[in-house]
């Protein structure tokens, strides 16, 4: 399944400065594995030391949070978009 992965601005520096990349993957977890395999520096930003997705990084399949689907086992289909949406806090210093 050809899926597109959207890389947020904050993480692009660890992903060869790409805004999006495409992989062939049958599940969201597989796509993430390929992504962190290609861009090893991304790994510590997406996963904890014990291999779980960090709680300030949300993964969406199209417009749905995978926490409410089958998490990393969520199956993908051709043309799906996986988005990585980390917490950002920019605004006024207070």
């Amino acid at each position: 399944m050809a899926v597109k992965m959207e890389i947020p601005t904050a993480l692009r520096q660890f992903a060869g400065k790409q805004a999006s990349v495409e992989f062939n993957a049958a599940t969201v977890g597989e796509a993430l594995k390929q992504l962190t395999g290609t861009y090893a520096d991304l790994r510590k930003h997406l996963y904890t030391d014990d291999g779980r997705i960090r709680s300030f990084v949300n993964i969406y399949l199209n417009d749905e949070d995978i926490r409410y689907l089958q998490k990393e086992n969520t199956p993908t289909k051709d043309g799906d978009t996986i988005s990585i949406v980390p917490s950002i806090a920019g605004g006024a210093k207070i």
Binding site: T9, H45, R54, D65, A92, I94
Partner: protein, 394 residues
């Protein structure tokens, strides 16, 4: 359905618009979706803005211009030159003044008939509930995680909607949290990132127009909530990518096991948000501990003596263009594969902007076997302060 607790669908007859106000708001009044009822709802509305920075600038201007009757602004910062690139409430002549003072004058100039309350204070767990209680809607325009979680929890505890906006470089996120039945910030992100993993705007930069757009979106959502019209941006996270000029929308759900807004909440009062975000103690153990350092003055006098010192600049090429000490440029991220360019028999002083990245570089090179290496304490900023004020600070 009344959107805001306590705001009647048809306003009471106590407040009417003067002839001058009718003229001022005529472009609102001629739209049936706003009309006289809507304008009176705006006049009775009470909105608290957290932060008078980049997001707060368009937000405050539009809410004041729209005739929101009472605007509260919380901020304790002072206007500086780096703010002017995006914080369009402020003029060059405001540099050095408290932001709330400059903002109050500017907004009162836009609309003298509204009430503006300013709070020159840091928002804390001990003052947040008292501040929020008097307002209908809270608009979050802060720049740090502890305050984000504090604003969220206070809004949930007091049952007030939180119009959220956040920015980074070319990217924005907006939504309305804790709209009746909707998710809160903790449903979206149960925990903050550990300190240092996500750069702030001060470290990462931001294109000046971006907070203008996101703050204007927050103003629009605030006004829609007051008027009770349209479809609020609740349960939806709007992502804005300025470079691709694209808006995307993701679904947000209330998490039934959310510790603050879930079915069985465990957080029933405000907590210590610095501790929650792992920030406490950060200053006690600086990252540079144990790294050999040289002060700008020491370096200058050694260079003046003619000592052979190799200056290694570990910043990015675009930073080198802003100002430099004529060092050899190897960005920190490239150091592992370019360390062979360095001669370990020479004395090396590594520097960056503030001394943080170069401390990492020194540590890395020490592990790679370099022995005669020092970190320039305080970076090029300290060099500008202590040695050569003609070097610009950024």
């Amino acid at each position: 359905m009344p959107i805001i607790t306590g705001t009647p669908t048809v306003p009471d007859t106590g407040r009417t618009l003067s002839k001058q106000e009718i003229q001022r708001y005529s472009r609102h009044l001629i739209m049936p979706e706003v009309g006289m009822d809507g304008q009176l709802k705006l006049a009775k509305a009470k909105v608290l803005m957290i932060g008078a920075g980049g997001l707060g600038a368009p937000l405050g201007l539009y809410l004041a211009a729209a005739g929101v009757g009472r605007l509260g602004i919380v901020d304790f910062d002072v206007v500086d030159y780096t703010n002017l690139q995006r914080q369009i409430t402020f003029s060059t002549s405001d540099v050095g003044r408290p932001k709330i003072q400059a903002a109050r004058e500017r907004l009162a100039g836009v609309n003298p008939s509204i009430r503006i309350d300013t709070y020159e204070t840091r928002l804390t767990s001990s003052n947040a509930l008292d501040l929020f209680r008097e307002y209908d809607i809270i608009v979050d325009g802060t720049d740090n995680f502890p305050t984000r979680y504090l604003v969220n929890d206070a809004c949930v505890l007091l049952d007030k909607p939180n119009v959220y906006g956040s920015i980074f470089r070319f990217e924005g996120q907006t939504t309305v949290f804790h709209y009746p039945g909707g998710p809160c910030y903790r449903c979206l992100y149960p925990e903050p990132p550990p300190p240092g993993l996500v750069p702030s705007c001060a470290e990462g930069g931001v294109l000046g127009v971006l907070p203008g757009i996101v703050g204007a979106l927050q103003a629009m959502e605030t006004i829609k909530l007051i008027l009770g019209i349209g479809e609020p941006l609740a349960g939806r996270l709007l992502l804005f990518d300025a470079l691709g000029m694209r808006f995307r929308e993701l679904r947000l759900r209330r998490n039934p096991s959310c510790p603050v807004c879930g079915d069985h909440p465990t957080i029933r009062e405000l907590i210590d948000y610095e501790e929650f975000c792992g920030i406490r103690g950060e200053e006690v153990v600086p990252v540079t501990t144990g790294i050999p350092e040289i002060t700008p003055r020491e370096l200058k006098s050694r260079l003046d003596r003619g000592d052979d010192i190799f200056i290694l600049d570990v910043r990015e090429p675009h930073e080198y263009q802003i100002c430099n000490l004529q060092g050899h440029l190897i960005p920190l991220g490239d150091l592992p594969k370019r360390a062979s360019e360095l001669d370990s028999s020479r004395e090396i002083v590594a520097h960056c902007r503030s001394g943080k990245r170069s401390a990492d570089a020194v540590q890395f090179l020490q592990q790679a076997g370099f022995r005669k290496i020092w970190n320039l304490k305080g970076g090029i900023l300290a060099w500008s302060d202590e040695v050569d004020p003609s070097v610009p600070k950024y």
